[in-house]
């Protein structure tokens, strides 16, 4: 059954139940109230009957009789009896009365009492006249109370039926209101497909912290991961070609130089070692990119390198020194913490080297080999790498497209490149639960900040 129907049925059932309960309580209280006021009337009559009985003056006695007969509202089947009480447990008996012994005992004990037989009420009260005691019993039939009860029951039944119908429509309205956010999410999610994975579900408000907002956020995070996986798979060949060409170029250059003329054994050894290192790098990169394509980020089976970020930056610098001899890259290890362990970063080392290397290489390329500063800032809560250059900068209109594969800005198109380095770097950093921020001003330079927050480093098995 649909959730909407379930909500409606549940609402109707609960409403009917609570209304029924209310009706039952009201009915019983009403009947109790009726009985109470009827007995009050009988009590008043009992007092008058007692007064008549005690009255020695016949005029006054007649007055009371007149008052009882004409002054008070008529009661149906009204009769009164006066029984003389002879002792603690004995009194005159009237054969017209067919009341239970328990009733008489209760009256003798408590001084008054009442009993009901169907609609006929019996009220008894003990009166003292000097040394004598009398039991006055007044009886009458409460037809009006019964009529009122029936009338109330009829109202409740018809109202109840009307209320059930109202509850049904209200239930449907409630179900629609409750399910509407889910229906909205479903509608939005249906629009998202493999071809437009960059779409995200809209959040109602930034302060929203209800369950639907949580669901929306979780869904968006899942889309982040899916998009990363899809794009990495889709761009594998592009990424592989882009990244592998550098070590291949180095190997080719190294071997060409070595073959240019006769060289000493040591020089050949050095060349072969360099070629060997580049080949190893090629192998590592291929493996890493292949794994990236095959598995994405599988938090359950993840083997990561545990590296020091300062060493990683130094390794990147060494690689870039080979690629761009005469570069002006400066690694600035500012205020290093006393606690070395703050520098530790679990990561996929070849990929992270690749990502940071790409960003620094962009700085070198687009600043025409001007100075590029790589600042490492290590805090208790995060590791930050700030790469700044004094280059051509990025026009504001290009910033939204920076991470689109193959995108090249107008200014950047004058330089060689394919528009793949930064998108891949961004994916790799995101894979490491890091953040990448780019700030730039045309003709002034660019500042790229990579942040790895400590909470994300700690929670290795949490989402990427």
């Amino acid at each position: 059954m649909q959730i909407r129907k379930k909500i409606t049925i549940t609402y109707v059932a609960l409403s009917v139940f609570s209304t029924l309960l209310l009706c039952i309580i009201v009915f019983f209280l009403f009947r109790q109230n009726n009985s109470y006021y009827f007995l009050k009337r009988l009590q008043d009559r009992a007092k008058i009957v007692a007064s008549i009985h005690y009255q020695h003056d016949p005029v006054k006695a007649e007055y009371f009789r007149e008052f009882k007969a004409n002054g008070l509202e008529e009661m149906i089947n009204e009769k009164d009896y006066v029984l003389r009480v002879n002792g603690t447990n004995s009194f005159e008996y009237n054969t017209d009365l067919h009341l239970s012994p328990d009733f008489y005992q209760a009256v003798m004990r408590n001084g008054s009492g009442w009993e009901q037989e169907g609609q006929q009420y019996y009220y008894a009260q003990i009166f003292n006249e000097g040394r004598n005691q009398y039991m006055v019993i007044v009886t009458a039939r409460d037809r009006r109370g019964n009529t009122s009860s029936l009338y109330l029951t009829r109202i409740m039944i018809f109202s109840g039926l009307a209320f059930v119908i109202l509850a049904y429509f209200l239930g449907r309205f409630l179900a629609r209101r409750v399910i509407a956010p889910v229906a909205r999410i479903t509608k939005e999610a249906n629009r998202i497909s493999a071809s437009n994975l960059h779409n995200r579900l809209p959040l109602a408000g930034t302060e929203d912290s209800d369950e639907m907002a949580d669901l929306t956020r979780t869904f968006n995070d899942m889309l982040d991961r899916l998009e990363t996986s899809f794009e990495i798979q889709a761009n594998f060949i592009n990424n592989a070609s882009h990244e592998l060409k550098t070590p291949i170029a180095t190997i080719m250059a190294e071997s060409e130089i070595a073959l240019l003329k006769e060289r000493t054994t040591e020089e050949y050894s050095a060349s072969l070692e360099s070629i060997g290192r580049q080949a190893t790098r090629l192998s590592n990169l291929t493996e890493s990119l292949l794994k990236l394509t095959q598995t994405g980020y599988d938090g359950q089976k993840q083997v990561q390198d545990v590296t020091r970020i300062d060493e990683l930056l130094m390794d990147v610098k060494c690689d870039l020194d080979r690629l761009y001899p005469g570069n002006r890259i400066s690694i600035i290890l500012g205020m290093m913490p006393d606690d070395d362990s703050l520098l530790i970063l679990p990561c996929n080392k070849p990929l992270l080297e690749l990502a940071i290397g790409n960003i620094i290489a962009n700085g070198v390329k687009y600043s025409d080999n001007n100075e590029v500063f790589v600042n490492l800032i290590v805090e208790r809560s995060a590791i930050k790498i700030v790469i700044s250059d004094i280059g051509i900068g990025i026009p504001p209109e290009d910033i939204p497209y920076l991470y689109e594969p193959f995108f090249r800005g107008k200014k950047a198109s004058k330089y060689t490149g394919y528009g793949l380095g930064l998108p891949l770097a961004m994916k790799i950093i995101r894979m490491h639960s890091g953040e990448l921020q780019v700030q730039s001003e045309p003709d002034k330079g660019t500042v790229v900040t990579i942040t790895f927050s400590r909470a994300n480093i700690k929670n290795a098995n949490v989402r990427s």
Partner: protein, 239 residues
């Protein structure tokens, strides 16, 4: 002076444990305590008790002990102490470790394979104490303990930074790889990844953490990869 405890059933791999302890000492003054455990025998009298507890060693066992003593004597900085313990309780073990100033316990494969109740009880008790436990692998080569791979379970409460600090208090090794595995998955399921990391990075030691209610089921990890396993108690980081 450092102190390393080696419970033993006087099998041949005790020598490997002694060599590992000497290597771990790294020139620092170290007392290696070789502990044999026996159940308290039932006896009607003190004399009968003494008779039952004084069991002579076999020729092979005596030879082994001599060999151990010889190897320790050959190292300039280590001393060997042989203790025979009869009966075991948690309080006794706790006090013994405190008295000896034990910094590490080395468990050899033959000892962990023992089925006798006192040895299994010892393994259970020592897993609950906060000392690092080095489970030796099946290989006979002396590991260098330079590079370690940390096997992280998803319910581990200690992060890599804290663990590196803790390990550096006693060891000169570096954690170069971390393998994260979800608890509900069979650890062997990701063995190929770990084997590859071990080979690629030249790993010679595995590290994992244990919780206060640790069990000995981690033994199969060592059997799978053939490397020694250093088990660190998570609460030791907070001491």
């Amino acid at each position: 002076m450092k102190s390393i405890l080696i419970p033993s059933v006087l099998e041949n791999d005790t020598l490997h444990a002694i060599d590992t302890a000497i290597k771990h000492a790294k020139g620092k003054s170290t007392n290696i305590v070789l502990l044999t455990l026996t159940d308290t025998p039932d006896a009607c009298s003190a004399a009968e008790y003494l008779r039952k507890t004084r069991k002579p060693l076999t020729a092979a066992q005596s030879e082994l002990l001599d060999e151990c003593a010889g190897r320790v004597a050959a190292s300039a900085n280590c001393t060997l102490e042989i203790r025979h313990q009869y009966g075991l309780t948690s309080a006794l073990l706790r006090n013994l470790l405190e008295y000896l100033g034990t910094e590490m316990v080395i468990l050899s494969p033959s000892y962990k394979a023992e089925k006798r109740k006192i040895h299994t009880y010892f393994c259970k008790l020592v897993a609950g104490c906060k000392k690092p436990i080095l489970h030796l692998g099946n290989g006979s080569e002396q590991p260098e303990f330079n590079k370690a791979l940390y096997i992280e379970r998803n319910n581990a409460q200690i992060d890599i930074r804290e663990l590196q600090q803790l390990v550096n208090k006693q060891f000169d090794l570096r954690i170069v790889t971390r393998a994260s595995v979800a608890e509900e998955h069979n650890p062997g399921g990701f063995a190929p990844f770990v084997n590859e990391a071990i080979e690629k990075n030249g790993i010679d030691l595995l590290i994992e953490t244990r919780k206060p209610k640790a069990v000995t089921r981690r033994i199969e990890v060592t059997d799978t990869y053939g490397l020694p396993l250093l088990s660190i108690h998570e609460e030791a980081a907070r001491v």
